[in-house]
Amino acid sequence: MAIPAGRVTALKGLALVLVAILALILPVIAPDPATTGMAVFTVMYIGLASAWNIMGGYTGYISLGHAAFFGFGAYSFGLLLVHLNVAPGYLPFVLVPVAGLLTALLAVVIGWVALRTRAATFVIVTIAFMFMLQLLGENLVKLTGGGAGLALAYSHDWGGDFFNIPYYYAMLALAVLSVGVSWWIRRSKFGLGLLAIRDDEDKALAVGVPTRSFKLTAFVISAVLVGMIGAVYAYYVTYLYPQFAFDPLIGISMVLMAFLGGLGTVSGPVIGALLLEPAQMEFAYRFGASRLYLVFYAAVFLIVILLLPRGIVPSVADLVRNWRHRRQVGPAQQGLASP
């Protein structure tokens, strides 16, 4: 007989607990700033990729402009911090959800316009909106400081090695939130509706799925999470420039990670981020000055798309499913496909 389903779930649960413990104590077992710095960005991208996947992976509507929400969240946070004169330290983290709320409003507006078109044009519209926001960031100089940038206060008490730690936990919290929301959606009827939209949007309509409101909801949820992560990013880097806050490369990285791991799965984006972000940082460190790291991006992207178009998690799941199928001859197992 094959491994009973209950045992598999128990194993998965155990693995999850181990990962959670490891993530929580990471700054304790590896406190050097190089590692914690990489940890901050890796966890940031786990959150970003999972959040992006809620729209791009589940509905199949690829947004290449999510950097717009990232930057908007970053600037919202920055401006709130500056204008409300919040004292640096732990208090500013309270502003993160506020930035998220503001991003939600933006997402409703952008989503309402962008979702009037079918999937092909949607991609283009999201790119356009990203550049629009970048332009606004650069040109509304009185508000954002324009090209000269916006300086944010930070806590001088958090000296040297400690500095990364609060940000790491903040990013970790947001990553857990992103993955959690993604998981919950995947198991819900709402999530099934999204996947149905991806497979055959007209058929989904024919069985009563309210596609417009579902798509918009997924889009807004995705944007809010990205916006909040952008807010923590702003606080972390303490200086905002439009071209780095609204950086298309951030937008494309989260897409690539979700893709590599497996679109439409819960664990896929996590794995994609865990694999790519450290590699990305390494490459940027070595070749950043000469622009060759762009070639690295391009190469990874092309290899993933052409050789592993469904991503790692679905391909592995397929292998496991085929192996299991060959091992048992009996009746069907649980009706639901693995996440």
Binding site: S188, L192, G193, D199, V209, P331, Q333, G335
Partner: protein, 243 residues
């Protein structure tokens, strides 16, 4: 009482008149057939009734309420389901998941609550068992055979308990054994209260199954009545043979 009432429905695509002042009514509790030569506008009527295209003129009333211009999802929520000429299911979802996609009229909150989930899964498995395809509940839609897909499509549409189901060529592309099974399922569901309107070319299937038949020709309804009466109607013969 007529469940579905179509009056003077019209639709043109550029220079082509697909539906020309078409009127028909579907009595509640019946199995009504919609027949006609190729190109007579049958599928277009379906698309108009189910909200995939907007009519140029005329009325569509469901339970005396006008539904012309509503979107397909609203129309399903009101109680009209449909199947497609080439059976459409969600290929990347399992058969069971396919059954769980259809949205009942309960609204957004019901979708997010987990409470109903258990009940729905039970109902879905029951429905699959009724159609004799419960053994493929865990198989991806894309891996199913065409016959299985047809049955799955019908089963999934029934999940929200629609009062009227429009079947687009239910007998298309199926072997005689499966054909009889499908006819039996339709009769069974009809006895339980579902009204059916089906488009079909297989005359034997139509004559055996339908209580009423409407004949379409060049977008217009030219005859209606009991199957054997329609079969002998000279205008109908002319339409089929003349084309």
């Amino acid at each position: 009482m007529s469940l579905l009432e179509v009056k003077d429905l019209s639709k043109r695509f550029g220079g082509i008149v697909a539906v020309d002042s078409c009127s028909l009514s579907v009595p509640a509790g019946s199995i009504t057939g919609l027949i006609g030569p190729n190109g007579s506008g049958k599928t277009t009527v379906f698309n108009l009734v189910t909200g995939f295209i907007a009519p140029d003129g005329g009325e569509v009333r469901f339970k005396a309420r006008s539904i012309a211009g509503l979107g397909p999802d609203r129309i399903y929520a009101l109680g009209i389901g449909r199947t497609f000429q080439l059976a459409r299911i969600f290929p990347r979802l399992t058969a069971l998941e396919n059954m769980l996609v259809p949205v009942r009229r309960a609204g957004l909150r019901a979708l997010l609550s987990r409470g109903q989930w258990g009940h729905e899964k039970e109902r879905a498995m029951e429905m699959l068992a009724f159609m004799d395809i419960n053994q493929v509940a865990g198989t991806l839609g894309g891996a199913l055979s065409y016959g299985q897909r047809k049955l799955l499509e019908l089963a999934a549409v029934m999940m929200a308990g629609p009062e009227l189901v429009l079947l687009d060529e239910p007998a298309g592309g199926v072997n005689p054994v499966l054909l009889e099974r499908i006819a039996e399922h339709i009769r069974h569901l009809n006895r339980q209260g579902t009204t059916f309107l089906l488009v079909e070319h297989n005359m034997g299937f139509v004559m055996n199954l339908c209580h009423e038949v409407v004949v379409l020709h060049q977008g217009h309804a030219i005859a209606k009545g009991k199957p054997k009466d329609v079969r002998e109607n000279p205008a109908v013969l002319d339409a089929y043979l003349g084309t």
